[in-house]
């Protein structure tokens, strides 16, 4: 029973990992850069939700939209000022410099958050915070269930957008072959911009959900980035659906190993699993080819 409960719990947490990773993988898939400040964008999304709730009593599940939109704008700004400049460089230089810039950016965003909102842990306590839905002896907290639903809807919408709409297909085409996309008349620079903005918006949504289930503080970024990176690699760099599935999987593995090995090692298990996959399938579990 404990095992079943922790599996379900892991799934609920894992959906959030998946959502965090989807934004990162989208940016990598299209721009071929790695934004290691992704966790800091999640942190900003969390603060947006926290302040919307604290100042105007906006429910976090409602503030998914404004905080997603706000982070979209942040993403656009970051792309215009920093990441957009990299794209002319060669493949390897571009990737390496994006990691370095992301690291500098993470430092900047952390410090700004610390100065603006102090190092205190902030969480949102809604009316339904303690409520649970018991099904066959397993308890499902409302807040986490809601987070799972929102994460799933967000990823599903993204999937539909990327696969069944014209602009979405244009973004994917840009990711697959920049030259061919450009020849086909796709405005490549604005596709890059949209992909980066979307990736950041997804980070904003993930942060909003994280503030309901966990807490937010200026230093949570690195942990989220690491989690998202693990999931992205497990799912295959650039694969949106793979990232979401891998996220849920990582959540379950962590939660179950937390029961079996003790909570101190739950993080380690995820990392070891990640290294094992990297050693055996360097392109990720769900990557084709």
């Amino acid at each position: 029973m404990i095992l079943a409960q922790s599996t379900v719990f892991g799934l609920l947490i894992g959906a959030l990992y998946g959502l965090a990773a989807v934004g990162l993988t989208l940016v990598f898939g299209v721009l071929k850069i790695l934004n290691v400040a992704h966790g800091e964008l999640i942190m900003l999304g969390g603060y947006a939700a926290f302040w919307l709730f604290t100042l105007w009593h906006v429910d976090p599940f409602v503030s998914v939209l404004p905080s997603g939109a706000a982070l979209f704008l942040v993403g656009v700004l970051l792309y215009r000022t920093l990441f957009g400049r990299l794209l002319r460089a060669g493949e390897e230089t571009k990737l390496k410099n994006s990691i370095l810039i992301g690291f500098g950016l993470a430092l900047v965003l952390q410090t700004v958050a610390l100065a603006a909102w102090t190092g205190d842990e902030r969480a949102v306590t809604t009316r339904y915070a303690g409520g649970v839905l018991p099904i066959a002896g397993i308890v499902l907290p409302f807040a986490r269930l809601g987070a799972l639903a929102v994460a799933f809807v967000a990823v599903a919408l993204l999937h539909v957008f990327l696969h069944h709409t014209y602009p979405g297909k244009a973004i994917r085409a840009t990711g697959e072959d920049v030259d061919a996309a450009s020849l086909a008349g796709i405005p490549v620079p604005s596709m890059f911009l949209s992909a980066f903005g979307l990736g950041s918006a997804l980070a904003g949504i993930a942060g909003t959900l994280a503030v309901v289930t966990d807490a937010v503080s200026p230093s949570i970024g690195l942990a989220w980035t690491l989690k998202a990176l693990i999931v992205v690699v497990l799912g295959g760099l650039g694969s949106v659906a793979g990232a979401f599935v891998a996220g849920c999987g990582l959540g379950v593995v962590e939660s179950v190993s937390g029961i079996l090995l003790g909570n101190a090692y739950r993080e380690v298990v995820g990392l070891v699993l990640f290294l094992a996959v990297l050693a055996v399938r360097p392109r990720g579990l769900f990557a084709r080819g």
């Binding site: 990598f28 790695l34 920093l82 400049r85 390897e92 230089t93 990737l95 390496k96 410099n97 990691i99 370095l100 810039i101 690291f103 500098g104 950016l105 993470a106 430092l107 900047v108 952390q110 410090t111 700004v112 610390l114 100065a115 690195l222 690491l226 990176l229 693990i230 690699v233 760099l237 101190a264 090692y265 993080e267 380690v268 990392l271 070891v272 990640f274 290294l275 990297l278 050693a279 360097p282």
Partner: protein, 318 residues
């Protein structure tokens, strides 16, 4: 190392700085000045060690903290157990070198972003495990605390800074270093002219790791109290990385210039604006990556180069 018109001023400056550093404990009684200089020397050593693989080898290792931590914790445990530091420090360095082989051998097979992410993951595994497994070595035993003197620690740090700089200078001018640069610039071309990419980067990884372990050992000998997980903190990766880029990545002088500027700025800013000084470092770092990939060393060379035109044989790559 060929001493010609170009390297002569640098060599003279280096000798003068070294003499000043060696005489410093005789000239001042101030613990603050000595501690600060010791920290500069330690950071020079750590930054040089990162630069071996990250700068000369072109492989962004985000798991440097793991090697620093292995060196620090091994040295600390042996030393507090009664082993003389003269044996504990080499043991820590050796274990860090072995660890580099264990991490580097599989990690260097990874391509693209996977090397950076993989090494970051390894360092995090080490940090969490060290925090869980190792005993608290937060404080020194009273006997060691009573015998604590700053001067031997200072000279140890000075020796290590000189050693790491000498290693960097050797790499910059040796056949091995040129092979490493060839691999960094273009792996396929390097392989086609008979330079083994994997072997070169692995050797660089081990040199880098051993030196990082030695820096960790000196830190463990110097620092009065710390938790084992602190020695594995990502700080020990990101500080040297920042210093190297600040000074000039892939150069011998870069880590020295970077460490001095970094710690001077930190000292000056942290007192006035507190945590906000990190903001300035972050912005400075981004600005360098975007606009000045050669760091301060490059900027200085550009200024000198404009006054007297020298053919540049430098490898400018980030």
């Amino acid at each position: 190392m060929i001493v010609d018109r170009r390297t002569l001023p640098a060599a003279a400056l280096g000798t003068a700085a070294l003499a000043a550093a060696a005489l410093l404990p005789a000239m001042t009684e101030s613990r603050a000045i000595l501690s600060w200089t010791l920290l500069v020397l330690l950071y020079v050593a750590l930054a040089q060690s990162w630069n071996v693989l990250g700068g000369f080898g072109g492989q962004v290792n985000l798991g440097h903290a793991a090697l620093f931590g292995v060196g620090a914790v091994t040295t600390r445990l042996l030393w507090t157990a009664g082993t003389p530091i003269a044996a504990a420090l080499p043991a820590g360095t050796a274990l860090a070198a072995v660890t580099s082989v264990v991490i580097g051998a599989p990690a260097l097979r990874l391509r693209g972003p996977y090397f950076a992410i993989g090494t970051l993951a390894v360092a995090e595994i080490c940090r969490i495990t060290a925090g869980n497994v190792l005993p608290d070595i937060a404080a020194l035993p009273p006997r060691a605390l009573a015998a604590y003197a700053l001067a031997p620690r200072y000279y140890l740090a000075l020796g290590l800074a000189v050693l790491t700089t000498a290693v960097a200078a050797w790499i910059a001018h040796s056949r091995f270093g040129r092979g490493l640069a060839a691999v960094r610039e273009d792996e396929d071309v390097a392989e086609s002219i008979g330079v083994g990419a994997y072997g070169h980067t692995l050797i660089a990884f081990v040199i880098s790791g051993a030196l990082a372990g030695a820096a960790g050992g000196v830190f463990a000998y110097y620092h009065v109290g710390f938790y084992p997980s602190f020695a594995f903190s990502p700080l020990w990766t990101f500080d040297p990385l920042l210093i190297v880029y600040l000074g000039g990545v892939g150069t011998v002088a870069g880590p020295i210039v970077g460490a001095i500027v970094f710690l001077a700025l930190r000292e000056a800013l942290a007192l006035r604006i507190g945590e906000l000084h990190l903001l300035i470092f972050g912005v400075l770092f981004i600005a360098i990556v975007v606009a000045l990939p050669g760091g301060i060393v490059q900027a200085v060379r550009d200024v000198i180069g404009r006054s007297r035109t020298i053919g540049t044989a430098e490898v400018t790559s980030t």
